[in-house]
């Protein structure tokens, strides 16, 4: 075990630094995803030792999850899928003149989330993985419902628009192969739709390219506050003041990461919804709430590290990227699976140590590199925006090696732009689009497992508890909506008695 750690911090260190830096760089560029760079790097690791290959890939994974926060905060374009929620509060913070502090909070949250999850990974991996596999289809379905109920919460003030956007997002996720019957649905005989609307083109279109369109129309960016953006402002008081937010988001993120098949993006959505429900003054969320950035960034990094738990204890990948990591372990003959800890503890500890080292390297590199990345994002729009579109085209094309996905991306860019003009929020759209397939697959699998009965959703304790939380959060959001409507009406119509002249007429 100590040998493994010693290697991580000596011979493996160059790979950690290379991997983390590459991951951060790729993650910070909208269009290039962590999954993409790790897939590209995989064949190159064939010529490395198994443990060095894992160190490189794990640190790329950690770096890519973190890098997304820079463009999410400064440009409102999530650099990676996991940074979607960061745009909601990071960008408003930057826009009101605190970009350095927003970045600082994001970087610290990433680091703290990663470290807290690492402690869980190092201490509790084997017992947690046993609990995680007991999480069956109905448990995961109920959990996605909790995350979906966030739609109601973040649409406050415009519930109808939010629900419309969510309905559209759910609809967009439906075409393709039906998960239960194995037949095609809603493809209208067009074979290009057999795989549905793929994640990356939809994401890049609605969130990144649409934002490029918006930026093209606004004559000039808010003047870059030079002194502020040039540094990452990390303050101890931002840690102490929001200490519980860090802890909550990290624990939620780590646990969701541990669940097989659920990754960092869902983790950040769920943590954000919990944080908003617990916060004092939830109306600040979406307008630059510090806790929003903390929840998103702590949870996605914690989820990244958490996803390593089922990977090293059971050989089960928790996300797209960990599936590639599993492939790397097979290729390097490391025989992943439940026996890894018993038969090849060196490898398990290499992964654990690698996650620790990558988190430390991430903090260092983000501290040094974020000002540079930030400056990159404040160059003239005429140079920056075409570059981003080019990266998005490359990213969309590379999903399945075809132009159709580039067309899909442009179509969703148009849709995202129209939604922006119509003041329909894109957040609920993307959240519903990401979570609906997960909810459907698990609900319908559950129906097969439980003989077509919905009852276990209520009789099994965990799903019942989750559904109760979801119900509570929806009622709470509806009540809030009603209250704010009444307040609005009261503000428009002066109360009787204050305008006697009006009544006399």
């Amino acid at each position: 075990m100590l040998d493994a750690y010693a290697h991580v911090f000596t011979g493996g260190l160059p790979w950690i630094l290379l991997g983390t830096a590459t991951g951060i760089f790729v993650g910070s560029i909208p269009g290039l995803s962590g999954a993409m760079v790790i897939s590209l790097a995989l064949p190159m690791t064939y010529f490395m030792s198994g443990s060095d290959a894992l160190l490189l890939l794990v640190s790329m994974y950690v770096g890519a999850t973190t890098g997304g926060l820079v463009s999410a905060t400064l440009m409102r374009m999530p650099g990676t899928e996991a940074a979607i929620m960061t745009t909601l509060d990071g960008y408003p913070m930057a826009a009101r003149g605190e970009p350095g502090r927003a970045l600082g909070i994001g970087v610290l949250a990433s680091f703290i989330g990663g470290m807290l999850a690492w402690v869980i990974l190092a201490l509790l991996s084997p017992p947690l993985s046993v609990v995680a596999v007991r999480f069956g289809p109905y448990e995961i379905f109920a959990m996605t419902v909790v995350a979906l109920s966030l739609i109601a919460a973040i649409s406050r003030g415009s519930l109808l628009a939010g629900l419309m956007a969510a309905g559209l997002g759910a609809l967009v996720s439906l075409p393709g192969i039906d998960p239960i019957s194995g037949t095609l649905r809603l493809t209208f005989g067009f074979s290009g739709l057999d795989t549905g609307f793929a994640l990356l083109p939809v994401l890049l279109g609605t969130l990144v390219v649409a934002q490029v369109f918006v930026d093209c129309r606004t004559p000039s960016a808010p003047p870059p506050p030079r002194g502020e953006a040039a540094r990452v402002a990390m303050h101890i008081r931002d840690v102490t003041r929001y200490a519980w937010s860090y802890v909550r988001a990290s624990v939620i993120g780590a646990w969701i990461g541990i669940l097989p098949g659920v990754g960092g993006t869902t983790a950040s959505i769920a943590a954000y919804s919990v944080e908003k429900a617990m916060a004092k003054g939830p109306e600040r969320f979406g307008r630059g709430a510090e806790e929003g950035v903390i929840a998103s960034e702590a949870a996605n990094n914690a989820g990244t590290v958490g996803a390593l738990v089922p990977l090293i204890t059971l050989g089960i990948p928790g996300s797209v990227i960990t599936a590639v990591l599993l492939g790397a372990m097979v290729i390097h003959n490391l025989n992943p699976g439940p026996l890894l800890f018993a038969e090849n503890p060196g490898i398990a500890h290499t992964v654990i140590g690698g996650a620790l080292a990558a988190n430390l390297a991430m903090l260092l590199i983000m501290w040094l590199a974020t000002p540079l990345l930030a400056r990159l994002m404040y160059v003239r729009k005429a140079w920056l925006l075409p570059g981003i579109v080019i990266f998005c085209v490359i990213g969309a094309f590379s999903v399945s090696n075809r132009w159709l996905d580039v067309g899909v991306m442009l179509a969703f860019a148009a849709l995202g732009y129209l939604m922006h003009r119509a003041r329909i929020p894109t957040g609920p759209f993307i959240i519903a689009y990401i979570l609906t397939p997960m909810a459907e697959q698990n609900l319908r699998s559950g129906l097969v497992v439980y003989d077509g009965s919905f009852l276990p959703l209520l009789t099994r304790p965990v799903p019942a508890l989750f559904l109760l939380i979801a119900l509570g959060s929806i009622i709470w959001a509806l009540a809030g909506e009603l209250r704010s409507r009444r307040a609005q009406r009261a503000a428009i119509q002066p109360p009787p008695g204050t305008a006697p002249g009006h009544e006399n007429r």
């Binding site: 289809p137 239960i180 194995g182 492939g327 025989n335 097969v448």
Partner: protein, 320 residues
């Protein structure tokens, strides 16, 4: 002087043939592209990358051999890219029976006949697994339980996939049916078994060792017993005529010239002997199983036929 003239003539003739020659016979003049219709890191990708490494390292082709991942819709997105490619031997496909599953179910408008088979490289057979704590100790136990309560057993699998069909073969051999719980690849199936959400699953051979203490293998699903577990009888020995082996095969677009098919098949067959591919086979638990020409065609026909035979059972055990 005459010697110089002769030399010039010879050079001219030589140049002429050098220019005219390649267009006629020398097949690879530009990079050969192999489409893998699945994502990076999986078994298909693993073999493709190993073959690529073998070919490149040992100069088995005079041109680069490029692997492109084109995942989507259970392999049909990448398959269509080869279906529509120029039949010149520069675009190839590597896919296992997932192609037959999609074609048999009518999910696509092409069939194996629309491609030119190039070579079969490797084969990995599966085994029937139940959780270690299961009450079923033999395949007969399990099948008796399935017959006693039709539709009662739950198998972790992927609906409409290349392993659903051999599962249906086992059902029709046992004369009963059970439920398919859609989970995904072998690691997800393992999670479903361990979590108690499924009773049985078809697993790949690496799980013989990986699943030690967690899984109980009941039957090998090859024609012969596994060398790594000689005590495990095959399903055929136990009276169920079922095999479930994923065969990784290479295909070219229909109408590809036979010389080009041969040249690529030669390179891939030679690559099978390199240490790069041998290391992959060792790690993945697959066996080299090279088939070419008529033997390959016969194997494909038998395989696809066996899929069509159980199509009704597959449809009956798919959800609505």
């Amino acid at each position: 002087m005459p010697t110089l003239k002769a030399a010039l003539c010879a050079t001219a003739i030589g140049l002429g043939t050098a220019i005219a020659g390649p267009a006629l016979a020398e097949f690879p003049e530009r990079p050969v592209k192999l489409i893998v219709p699945f994502g990076a890191g999986g078994g298909s990708d693993g073999l493709a990358r190993a073959i690529q490494a073998g070919i490149e390292k040992h100069d088995l082709l005079p041109v680069p051999f490029v692997v492109v991942n084109a995942p989507g819709a259970a392999g049909t997105v990448g398959t269509r890219q080869v279906l529509g490619a120029e039949p010149d031997g520069y675009t190839l496909l590597q896919i296992h029976q997932e192609m037959f599953a999609a074609a048999a179910l009518g999910r696509v408008d092409y069939a194996p006949d629309d491609f030119e088979p190039v070579i079969q490289a490797s084969r990995g057979c599966m085994f029937v697994a139940v959780p270690e704590g299961s009450e079923y100790r033999t395949l007969d136990d399990l099948m008796a339980a399935a017959k006693a309560a039709p539709g009662g057993l739950k198998q972790a699998d992927d609906i409409g996939s290349a392993t659903h069909f051999p599962s249906a073969q086992l059902m029709s051999q046992a004369g009963t049916e059970w439920r398919i719980v859609p989970t995904g690849g072998t690691s997800k199936r393992f999670a479903a078994l361990k979590g108690g959400f499924a009773d049985l699953a078809f697993m790949s051979t690496p799980w013989l060792t990986r699943g030690k203490g967690e899984l109980r293998p009941l039957a090998a699903l090859g024609e012969e017993r596994f060398p790594e577990m000689p005590d495990l009888p095959t399903a055929q020995e136990q009276g169920y005529d079922v095999t479930a082996c994923l065969a990784r095969r290479y295909w070219a677009p229909k109408g590809t010239p036979p010389e080009a098919v041969e040249a690529v098949a030669d390179a891939i067959e030679a690559a099978m002997g390199t240490e790069e591919v041998q290391a992959y086979l060792e790690a993945s638990g697959e066996d080299a199983a090279v088939l070419r020409g008529d033997a390959l065609r016969a194997a494909i026909e038998a395989d696809y036929g066996s899929y069509l035979d159980v199509l009704d059972v597959v449809k009956a055990t798919s959800g609505q």
